[in-house]
């Protein structure tokens, strides 16, 4: 246990520090400033050129926390040098099932995000930033708006920030409830007022993004790291995490754990440790499977896996947004697969054929299976459909759909079917869901 407390100790964490220490008012400007907010911004404005900032973040090895894990400094450096205006767009449209870390950051430490936004804007020389905030975030939206208003009143947002010649205004746009708008080009279309659907790439947003101007889209957790990197340097940052995944990460742990919630731990912490940090699996039940990185990620069963971008990629899955869903032995994987696929089908934007029709078909088959009307060929059919969307022998992300949504649906479903073939067969053979049948039997026993 001492080992576990070390994982979440003061020394091992920094992103959540402010609201861990001051849970009552961490979101206010006063508290934030009292705990060092905007000092990094001032330091960056006073002492660093935009290029030096980009180099610092490159050196820190910070990778995007939204899901793809792309190195943030590299992303920034793709912006053409002399094209203006340019925009920073903040992706606060957290929609990956199982993920709730951006919501917590937004509600509890909006000034950390805002400071990160201003540092990023300084680095890419943007004078406007748009926060695309998930429509369902009510409290988060109000706190974020309050933070922007307060910071503007304090001269920290807008023209001539903190009396310098750096200017950046920040605007908040509320989403309207589409998962696809978390995909950066869909987000940009939605922000421009269009139907949220992915755009053709190239041109990439860094070259032609919002309103056809160079645009960087960053996740809020990524941005919340920036003040710390500016304050303490890249070497300090690299003391956390692994060589290829430096830093800490907010993991949203849900499912069959005693204390579901967000936990900040260093990248590279093993899956087993993480589950223990969240209190372990209750009721003496055993682990069946884990979704390691949101609904898009293939499932794993090995708890010794280090939670880092590279280790999970090597294991054929991904760290994604850091949403860890723990399932114990009472879970029906067919039902879980159905719920997952239903989600992807519901959230498919409809633009491209493989995703629109493929997720529809998978969902139909899974719903049939789960309701006891499965056919012997269904398991094979599901694998074939996964193959249609995302050929297995191809390279990663080599799917046929327009954007990764279709790939994700196939990627995760294939892992489920492959790990638990017998459960799919049992559904067909018994003509009903065996797990649910067992549950019902137990309930009846208890009642008797």
């Amino acid at each position: 246990m001492s080992d576990l407390s070390r994982l979440t100790s003061r020394e091992a964490t920094f992103i959540t520090r402010r609201y861990q220490d001051y849970p009552g008012d961490s979101f206010t400007l006063e508290r934030a400033r009292a705990t060092g907010a905007y000092e990094s911004l001032k330091k960056a404005i006073a002492t660093m050129t935009p290029d030096a900032l980009v180099e610092l973040v490159k050196a820190s090895g910070l990778r995007g926390r939204g899901g793809a894990g792309f190195p943030t400094g590299n992303k920034w450096s793709f912006v053409p040098r002399d094209a203006f205006p340019r925009y920073l767009v903040v992706n606060d449209d957290e929609g990956e099932p199982g993920t709730f870390k951006d919501r917590e950051l937004t509600e509890r430490d909006p000034h950390a995000i805002l400071e990160g936004i201003l540092i990023a804007a300084l680095a890419i020389r943007a004078e406007r930033a748009y926060i695309y905030i998930r429509g369902e975030f009510g409290l988060g939206y109000r706190r974020m708006q309050q933070a922007v208003d307060d910071a503007r009143a304090a001269g920290l947002v807008g023209r001539n920030i903190a009396g310098t010649d750096f200017s950046c205004d920040v605007f908040i746009h509320r989403g309207a409830g589409a998962y696809i708008c978390g995909e950066e080009t869909s987000l940009l279309d939605s922000l421009e007022g269009y139907r949220g659907q992915p755009r053709l790439r190239p041109p990439f947003p860094a070259v032609k993004g919002l309103y056809a101007a160079p645009t960087v889209v960053n996740n809020v957790e990524t941005l919340a790291n920036l003040p710390h990197i500016v304050a303490h340097g890249s070497d300090w940052f690299r003391t956390f995490g692994t060589q290829q995944s430096p830093g800490t990460k907010l993991f949203s742990i849900s499912g069959h754990v005693a204390n579901p919630g967000n936990y900040e731990v260093a990248l590279g912490t093993t899956l087993g440790e993480l589950i223990e940090v969240a209190g372990g699996i209750p009721g003496g039940r055993s682990l069946k499977a884990v979704i390691p990185g949101g609904a898009s990620a293939p499932w794993v069963t090995d708890t010794s896996l280090p939670m880092s971008f590279e280790a999970l990629a090597a294991a054929g899955t991904m760290l994604g947004s850091g949403a860890v869903v723990v399932m114990d032995d009472t879970t029906c994987v067919v039902r879980m697969a159905m719920i997952n696929t239903r989600f992807f089908n519901h959230e498919s934007c409809g633009k491209c054929t493989p995703c629109r029709e493929g997720t529809w078909w998978m969902r139909k088959v899974l719903e049939r299976l789960e309701s006891g009307e499965g056919r012997p060929e269904d398991r094979g059919l599901l694998l074939e459909l996964c193959e249609d969307l995302l050929p297995e022998k191809g390279a990663p992300a080599s799917g046929r759909s327009f954007c990764p949504l279709g790939d994700s649906a196939a990627w995760s479903l294939r892992s489920i079917v492959k790990i638990f073939p017998e459960e799919f067969l049992a559904h067909v053979e018994e003509g009903r869901c065996p797990v649910r049948a067992g549950e019902e039997a137990r309930e009846q026993e208890v009642r008797a």
């Binding site: 053709l200 934007c349 056919r375 046929r400």
Partner: protein
């Protein structure tokens, strides 16, 4: 991009063969140009790529995923496989997915037999589906409009129709609604899809989701015979395929020509041609029998030989008694060049009258003012619009009168041209152009302001700064100045002279070109053939003669004793109904050559039934001087004859026999004797059905390499269940098709195949003798009687014309008449929108419903020119440059 900076000369490898290509061209087009067909649904060469359907996925070496060929530009050294196992597996899978929710109701689908989904399912699909679930259901079909039906179950969500409405027509009336698998194309509940271009969405739909309401269930495509021809309505001259079954025209579709219409046409051109088989068609020559004792006159049939004798006798006697100048000819703007050449031969050469004019509703417009160094016609072509820096539009509302030119203007603005729209009303172009909303009647003042770049600005109602900035825009180059009649009946010769002089001087310095927006399919041909006072064939000067209005006045005076009206319905078209009526009842002998018993025809002495557009061969010249072929589709009614035939018969009876027996021979004579048309040859107009691109068009050494075998038959045999039963993939041997596999799926290359022939617009320099420059008459508006409104008449796309009103498919969309007032004018008269009001001028009055809109400026009343139940020409007074009306309850 100018050719010298265009990057060419890259080489890429397609299916194992290294081929030259132009950098940046889309892979799908490059492959196609070598006969390698990549299947597609969402890609259309007339619109931006979206890469949504994923049907065109191909393997590009070095790319971790398959790439959509429609959105992948070719680069040097690219190695592409369209027929590798990954590519074929992807195409097969996408097709199966597209079909899982498709109802497969091909036997009752209009598209069956010419359906890209059907054809590509046969060529690229798996043959059998693994889908055993319930399909998605929608209510079907639903009417998007009176012309377009939608079956959402058949839709494959390729977005083509939505993209057409967004990108091309700008009528954003249909959209993709809902999301994911439940996405559907639809319109707002209260907003019908009433775009003037709606039919294009049907033509580009790659499945049977959008079908034509008038054509529904009329025929199977394999029973239709298609003939390429040119649209007979406006002066844009869109190439058209008219399709018949038996001897009945059932459908028309747009043919592509990137110089004229790109891939599009308007709904009038698409749905308006079935008038040719209307029951009203005249079937035999009719001669008036004068009644006695108060009975009504009657018409009786007469054999052609007798009627021609009678007309020739009358013509001879009129010349003998009153001289050749007592003969007049009006009309022909819808006739072919060959008809018009026969007409001018008869009237100018044989009869010897100078009184010939093609103008009807544009009778008050002075085309002569725009004679370009002697040539009355455009110096621009439509393609110049795309390159223009500034376009000055000083013409009618093109969306109503020249619809496809509206699309081209929209495209030009998208390409970066700045558009200045000089019009007193807010017309369609104002949506993307700068509106120079001049006070009605002050054309001359506005022109002065523009010509002097704002140095001199007489009061014309347009803001000074706006005029100055317009002047600056016009100082850039290249500039295209488009002019045409804005309001029938309005004459302002001074303004046009000044504008023309200015434009001509810009033209000389190479900074500008002029687009003369004549109205009808062959108005320009009529100018070329000398059907205009003072202008002979090939734009040579002719002795001064009378124009349409002058001829009608002369008929009333008794100076014109013989009037030949060729397809000219002067009672409803000439902007002075009273004058036309007086002329017809003046006692002059009137011969009318017509398709239908129009009111004008019924006032004539002799009615000659004419062959219609789809019944004869010939050529039309569009407003950019481009000559295109028109071809017979169906046979003419037994009694109807082509105009050229009739006119030559009369010439022969007057002692000048000609040996021409076909319009092709007349075309050859035009090439011989009309100086501007030297080199004119029907063969130059291109064979519309020339073999499409395929190995035959590719240098033999290349196509031999591209596919090592001689061409295979067009279709792969459809796989039998046995082929697929074991789950193995059966690959076709080769993906090279010898001919285009998709009927009605048009390609970029089709649009370059048949461009027509633009006659060289060079002729003797010097001002046209047909026009004597007149001094601008400024401040006409000040002459307005108190309380009166300046009458702005405008032609509407669907009007009460002889052809449109007899097109069964357009009956449903012809709008009703109205008068439109500015809210202030309506308020000051206490008039309520929708109420019936009386519009009166000194000449007459009409009762029409009132519309209120700020589109019409204060001080004016706007009416459509010719609508069922209302002819604006009842109000118009051709002796005045403008007409003022009062509007009262």
């Amino acid at each position: 991009m100018p050719p010298e900076t265009r990057d060419t000369g890259i080489r890429l490898t397609i299916n194992g063969t290294e081929l030259p290509a132009e950098n940046g061209h889309l892979l799908i087009d490059v492959a196609e140009s070598y006969g390698v067909f990549v299947p597609r649904f969402c890609y259309h060469p007339g619109m931006d790529s979206v890469a949504a359907c994923r049907m065109c996925l191909v393997e590009v070496e070095g790319s971790r995923k398959l790439l959509p060929a429609c959105a992948t530009p070719v680069t040097d050294g690219m190695v592409v496989h369209t027929d590798s196992t990954p590519a074929i597996e992807a195409q097969r899978s996408v097709l199966e997915l597209l079909l899982i929710n498709h109802p497969l109701d091909c036997p009752i689908c209009d598209r069956g037999g010419e359906c890209p989904l059907q054809d590509q399912a046969l060529n690229f699909g798996p043959g059998r589906s693994r889908y055993r679930e319930q399909k998605r259901h929608f209510k079907k079909p639903i009417a998007l409009s009176e012309l377009v039906m939608l079956d959402r179950e058949r839709c494959v969500l390729c977005w083509r129709c939505v993209r057409f409405c967004r990108e091309v027509s700008g009528d954003k009336e249909i959209e993709l609604l809902d999301r994911g698998s439940l996405s559907q194309i639809n319109r707002g509940p209260a907003e019908p899809f009433d775009s003037y271009f709606s039919g294009n969405t049907i033509q580009i739909c790659p499945v049977g989701a959008l079908t034509s309401k008038p054509y529904r269930f009329l025929s199977r495509p394999w029973d239709l015979l298609s003939t390429a021809t040119t649209c007979s309505f406006c002066a844009v001259g869109c190439p058209l395929s008219v399709e018949r079954r038996g001897d009945e025209v059932l459908r028309a579709q747009a043919l592509p020509n990137d110089a004229v219409n790109s891939f599009w046409n308007c709904d009038k051109g698409r749905y308006g041609h079935r008038y040719v088989s209307h029951a009203d068609r005249l079937l035999a020559p009719l001669v008036r029998r004068r009644a006695t004792m108060g009975e009504a006159d009657t018409f009786e049939d007469m054999p052609w030989r007798d009627v021609l004798d009678a007309v020739a006798d009358k013509l001879t006697s009129t010349i003998a008694e009153h001289g050749p100048a007592s003969v007049g000819f009006i009309g022909g703007s819808h006739a072919t060049n060959e008809d018009l050449f026969a007409a001018i031969l008869l009237f100018r050469d044989v009869v010897g009258t100078p009184n010939v004019d093609f103008r009807t509703f544009d009778a008050a417009f002075d085309y002569g003012a725009f004679g370009k160094g002697g040539v009355v016609g455009s110096s621009s072509q439509f393609e110049d619009l795309d390159k223009a820096h500034t376009i000055l539009w000083f013409g009618p509302d093109p969306k109503e009168e020249l619809p496809v030119l509206y699309l081209r203007l929209r495209h030009a603005v998208k390409q970066g041209a700045s558009l200045l729209v000089a019009h007193p009303r807010r017309i369609s172009l104002c949506e993307f152009g700068t509106h120079l909303a001049y006070t009605p009647g002050r054309e001359a003042e506005l022109v002065r302001g523009l010509v002097t770049a704002g140095a001199e600005i007489p009061d014309c109602g347009v803001d000074r700064e706006l005029i100055r900035s317009a002047g600056h825009a016009l100082a850039q180059q290249p500039v295209v100045v488009a002019v045409g009649q804005q309001s029938p009946g309005r004459s302002c010769p001074g303004a046009w002279d000044e504008l023309a002089t200015w434009a001509r001087s810009l033209e000389k310095s190479g900074r500008a070109t002029v687009l003369l927006c004549v109205p009808n399919a062959n108005s320009q041909g009529a100018l070329d053939m000398g059907i205009y006072p003072g202008l002979d064939r090939g734009h040579r000067p002719a002795p001064p003669g009378l124009g349409t209005l002058e001829m009608l006045r002369a008929a009333v005076d008794g100076r014109i004793r013989f009037l030949w009206l060729m397809g000219a319905d002067i009672l409803s078209d000439v902007p002075d109904a009273a004058l036309a009526e007086a002329a017809l009842s003046s006692g002059a002998y009137v011969v009318v050559s017509e398709l239908f018993p129009t009111a004008t025809a019924l006032s004539a002495d002799v009615i000659l039934p004419a062959a219609a557009f789809a019944e004869k061969e010939g050529s039309y010249t569009n407003l950019e001087r481009r000559i295109q072929k028109t071809n017979p589709v169906v046979s003419a009614p037994s009694g109807a004859r082509a105009d050229w035939h009739v006119l030559l018969d009369i010439s022969a009876r007057l002692g000048t026999p000609r040996v021409w027996t076909s319009s092709k021979e007349i075309a050859a004579e035009i090439a011989r004797s009309v100086p501007t048309h030297q080199g004119f040859d029907w063969e130059l107009l291109g064979d519309p059905w020339a073999p499409v691109a395929g190995p035959a068009d590719v240098p033999p050494e290349l196509w031999h390499a591209a596919g090592e075998n001689p061409p295979l038959p067009q279709y792969q045999a459809s796989p039998t269940p046995d082929d697929l039963g074991n789950g193995s993939l059966r690959l076709p041997d080769r993906r090279l098709t010898t001919s285009w596999p998709l009927r009605w799926e048009l390609r970029a290359v089709d649009a370059t195949r048949r461009r027509g022939w633009v006659w060289p617009g060079k002729a003797a320099a010097g001002p046209n003798p047909a026009t004597a420059p007149s001094t601008p008459r400024l401040n006409v508006y000040e002459d307005a009687p108190p309380g009166a409104l300046f009458l702005l008449a405008g032609r509407a796309i669907y009007d009460n014309g002889a052809m449109v009103s007899r097109s069964p498919d357009l009956g449903v969309v012809t709008p009703a008449p109205f008068v439109e007032l500015h809210p202030d004018e309506a308020a000051s008269r206490r008039l309520v929108a929708g109420s019936e009001v009386t519009v009166s001028s000194p000449k007459g009055s009409v009762r029409v419903p009132l519309r209120i809109s700020t589109d019409t400026p204060p001080g004016a009343a706007a009416v459509p020119f010719d609508q069922p139940g209302m002819s604006a020409n009842v109000l118009l007074d051709s002796s005045e440059p403008a007409t003022y009306v009062t509007v009262a309850p």
